[in-house]
Point group: C2
Chain length 329, copies 2
């Protein structure tokens, strides 16, 4: 069914049905002028928005609407995770072209809700309108954090160790596989594709790092390791040195890179959309970090000088330029 | 300058410069993964999003970027006002086509900030990305309200009087004037155009109504009187009867309607984008309402039957169908 068959009102009703509150924080959710949300006393509210545009952020020729909904939620919850917060609420604004069907919109919200359910987060509002030019998605995530337990990008100090969760470059390699049109590869390539289409935000890890006080600075890797590390360094007023051989790459990425005839490290450094966490840890807290049981790899160290450097596989030090995605470059 | 000359990073820095906090609630604003906002104890957080798409919601051939910024903020603050809340924070997501200049984006944020300043609201975050198809704006507004003092759409009861603030139809008439391409009309038409391009959300009125406890239900008129009244009735499980001659029309609208050769009442009923408040008041509280000093007109009454009816200028009762803008109809 075309969305025009539902009408705006029917569409909102459908979204409302798919967005029944899962927490007791939403006093008024979708269907009023604004959501009314209960925030516990002495807690901080976190808020973040991320926009996804057809033809820029996603390609509907290989992205199903369930995955689009999932990912739209994931990229936003990842921002809350990167502050050490607990996601609580989301708002979604959709611009919907005439060719999109009501079933596709339902699938979008099913995917969106599936991720929200995992993280006990409510969809509490938003907007929907017709679009003349491509599908438009904008999501705002609201989260909660304890005072004194928020991890910003600005707290990295010289000597702090640099860590990343999981493995890097998988999402970018998954997208490259999808773009070859040959997505029938082995289970390794399926994993890469899944990481691209349905990333898992590191909510539990972000919260554990904030709670423990181990992390001095934190960011989620959305644009690529080099660009996101550069952001932490700029906002902390520090530099960094990173070792190529320490950057965690998955076996699936290594195999796919061979088939795609591209250097595997390039995907990690410049690819983006991994939604892993990059965080820094003061030397005195490294032991405590290990007791948290978080799967993370040390990849380098924060320096007092402002530059960013990479030690390559041959032991040579090279300047590291932010090479991640820039929308306007 | 093209936005590409600034780069994404430069753009964010520009937005950050234009978004210095005006309140002491923003502990961390633009530039981190998420905004960190202090919410007073025992207060409720309100959250609302509205998307504006080029070619659907606005036409850049007659909309300047300052007005676009102003209006993007206004439509969102109006949603907070319609709950009786005080706006506190906004997040803006922009999708920016290659042809848009950095100066235009600066003007957008200047207009946005000008309205936010009036209402002591901080711009605390958002997203910006390149768009391949038209300018995309999505704003989330967060506000605060006291417990027990939020006015939803669901509280109207039979016998309640129906009120609207200001005059209706001005914005739609202003757009019609702009579309004729002959915007050089008299001061009356300039007022209509201003109401369309730079609407003033009724924040003080919404808050006063909520504080006083006079309003049993409230909504802002964004899609047109008939559609928005129908929403209040549906969510309250009631009906309404409204008198055409009581609906407040401005002298400027009456004159413009003659020149545009359209019935003046049509603009009020179906036009939308007035961002006036429609609210209901129990009979016992009408006297108290008058003491609030709000400029509002009584236009009808809530009924127990589910239908919506209009008494026209000849005293005939007719069914009233929601005729406001529907994005997908």
């Amino acid at each position: 069914m075309r969305v025009s068959g539902l009408g705006e009102h029917g569409l909102i009703r459908q979204i409302k049905r798919l967005s029944l509150p899962v927490s007791s924080h939403s006093l008024i959710g979708i269907g009023d002028d604004a959501a009314v949300l209960r925030i516990s006393p002495h807690a901080l509210l976190l808020a973040s928005s991320d926009m996804l545009l057809e033809g820029v952020h996603f390609d509907l020729s290989y992205t199903d609407f369930y995955s689009l909904g999932w990912k739209s939620a994931a990229v936003n919850l990842s921002d809350i995770a990167a502050m050490g917060g607990a996601p609580r609420f989301c708002l979604t604004s959709l611009g919907i072209p005439a060719a999109v069907t009501a079933e596709q919109i339902r699938d979008f919200y099913r995917g969106f809700r599936a991720l929200l359910r995992i993280h006990k987060t409510d969809l509490v509002g938003g907007d929907s309108c017709s679009s003349r030019a491509g599908m438009v998605v904008d999501v705002t995530a609201l989260g909660e954090a304890r005072r004194g337990r928020v991890v910003s990008r600005a707290g990295a100090r010289p000597g702090d160790r640099i860590y990343v969760t999981g493995t890097l470059g998988d999402s970018a390699a998954g997208m490259a596989v999808l773009r070859t049109g040959n997505a029938g590869g082995g289970s390794g390539e399926k994993k890469l594709i899944r990481k691209h289409l349905r990333p898992a935000p590191r909510v539990a890890e972000g919260a554990a790092l904030a709670r423990s006080g181990c992390a001095s600075a934190m960011i989620d890797i959305s644009d690529g390791l080099s660009s996101d590390l550069a952001r932490v360094c700029e906002q902390s007023g520090v530099g960094a040195v990173m070792a190529e051989e320490k950057v965690p790459l998955s076996p699936a990425l290594l195999r796919a890179a061979v088939r795609l005839k591209k250097p595997s490290f390039h995907f990690a450094l410049s690819g983006g959309e991994d939604y892993e966490l990059l965080f820094t840890v003061p030397p005195a807290k490294v032991k405590q970090l290990k007791s948290l049981g978080i799967s993370a790899s040390e990849i380098g160290e924060i320096t007092g000088g402002r530059g960013l450097f990479l030690i390559d596989r041959h032991g040579r030090i090279k300047p590291l330029r932010p090479s991640g995605y820039d929308h306007f470059a």
